[in-house]
């Protein structure tokens, strides 16, 4: 089974059960992974979220508690520890002029021999270029 590294947008869709047909097909046929930085970015977003019709009236503290529960990743979603890829992340960030987040995404996909999948709306040229340089398959997924 192939592996895919999902960005935080796609991870949110998977966790929320809001998958497009393309993403559903990808999820059903692949082992899922994400990165520390993508996960942190999603967590930061949830921590500051105001909530919608159901949870908007909750206190911030209770929304955060719900968010903490909902963002607990299933064991099936892999995240490589930095001890394995930290140095490679630093190398890529230096050589490819990408953010730490972009460098980790490429390093993770490289280490896992996985395809790096990002949401179409957040397709960064720096990450795309770094992936190409590292020989990592890069793909955008619509939602």
């Amino acid at each position: 089974m192939s592996r895919v590294v999902l960005d935080d947008h796609l991870l949110r869709d998977v966790l929320a059960g809001e998958q497009s047909r393309q993403l559903r097909r990808l999820v059903s046929s692949s082992e899922l992974a994400t990165t520390n930085m993508y996960y942190v970015r999603l967590c930061k977003s949830v921590v500051g979220a105001r909530g919608g019709a159901l949870t908007g009236a909750w206190s911030a503290q209770r929304r955060r508690e719900l968010g903490r529960r909902l963002l607990e990743l299933p064991d099936s979603v892999l995240i490589l520890p930095m001890r394995l890829i930290g140095y490679r992340v630093a190398e890529l960030a230096e050589s490819e002029r990408v953010s730490t987040l972009g460098a980790e995404a490429v390093a993770s996909a490289e280490h896992l021999d996985a395809q790096l999948c990002v949401w179409t709306g957040d397709d960064g040229p720096g990450i795309r270029h770094a992936a190409r340089s590292a020989g990592v398959a890069y793909r955008t997924v619509s939602t």
Partner: protein, 243 residues
């Protein structure tokens, strides 16, 4: 006489409060006044007469006369019947320090029909207990609750399975940790023959939702658009920006 020479109702009330017998009567009829006020407000909002309201309640007009309700002892049968038959939710905000016989445990404002906590039921006169029971009110040592309540005027179905639940119900957890789900909920969630539910332990409470619904809460908590906006706001972050 000029308007400024008149004494305000608050001042009159404050003066009358010094009379213990007045205070006792005021406390005794506190909830009934709340019922009466709500009915008056509802009538005004709907533009209906007492007779019209009686028709909606399925009662004869004198039965819900606001004057009569307002004078009644709250936990005698009559106001309770009005509340019950109208499926009326009546916000009654009390103050433990002022209300004497109608208090909330923590002395905080509360809603009468969801968690009214009057004096111990054992303290009521026997007639009150009987009337309350007939009116659909059940009480134990500390709690009195109304059944079948809803917002007055709401189209609340009132069948065996779809009736609106009380705001608070107490369920027993078995020694093995099992807890039942209310019949109305089982029916609404198509669990008449059993089945899964999603449970989220939030620390301050346990949230039970239909199977598959828990993950959708994330979509409510953080929409795609909101997350995209958050990410866009990190454009200058050297660590978290998409470059």
């Amino acid at each position: 006489m000029k308007l400024k020479d008149l004494t305000s109702s608050d001042k009159v009330l404050a003066r009358q409060w010094r009379d213990p017998s007045f205070k006792a009567e005021w406390d005794r009829t506190a909830v009934a006044r709340a019922v009466a006020n709500r009915l008056v407000a509802y009538r005004a909002k709907e533009g209906i007469t007492q007779t019209g309201l009686a028709r909606r309640l399925g009662m004869k007009q004198p039965g819900h006369s606001t004057a009569r309700v307002g004078r009644s002892q709250p936990f005698l049968g009559h106001p309770c019947q009005v509340v019950w038959r109208a499926r009326t939710r009546i916000p009654y905000r009390g103050d433990a320090a002022r209300r004497g016989n109608v208090t909330s445990p923590a002395g905080e404002p509360f809603e009468m029909v969801s968690t009214t906590v009057p004096a111990a039921a054992s303290d009521w006169p026997s007639g009150q207990r009987d009337n309350a029971s007939r009116a659909g009110v059940r009480g134990d040592a500390r709690h009195v609750r109304f059944r079948n309540w809803a917002i007055l005027g709401a189209e609340a179905p009132n069948t065996k399975y779809t009736q609106i639940m009380e705001a608070i119900q107490r369920y027993l957890v078995s020694a093995s940790g099992q807890m039942s789900v209310p019949a109305a909920v089982r029916h609404r969630w198509h669990l008449d023959k059993g089945g899964p539910v999603d449970v989220i332990d939030l620390g301050f409470g346990v949230l039970t939702v239909p199977a598959g619904e828990a993950q959708r809460l994330l979509g409510d908590l953080l929409s795609r658009e909101e997350h995209a906006n958050f990410v866009a706001s990190l454009a200058d972050d050297p660590d978290l920006a998409t470059t």
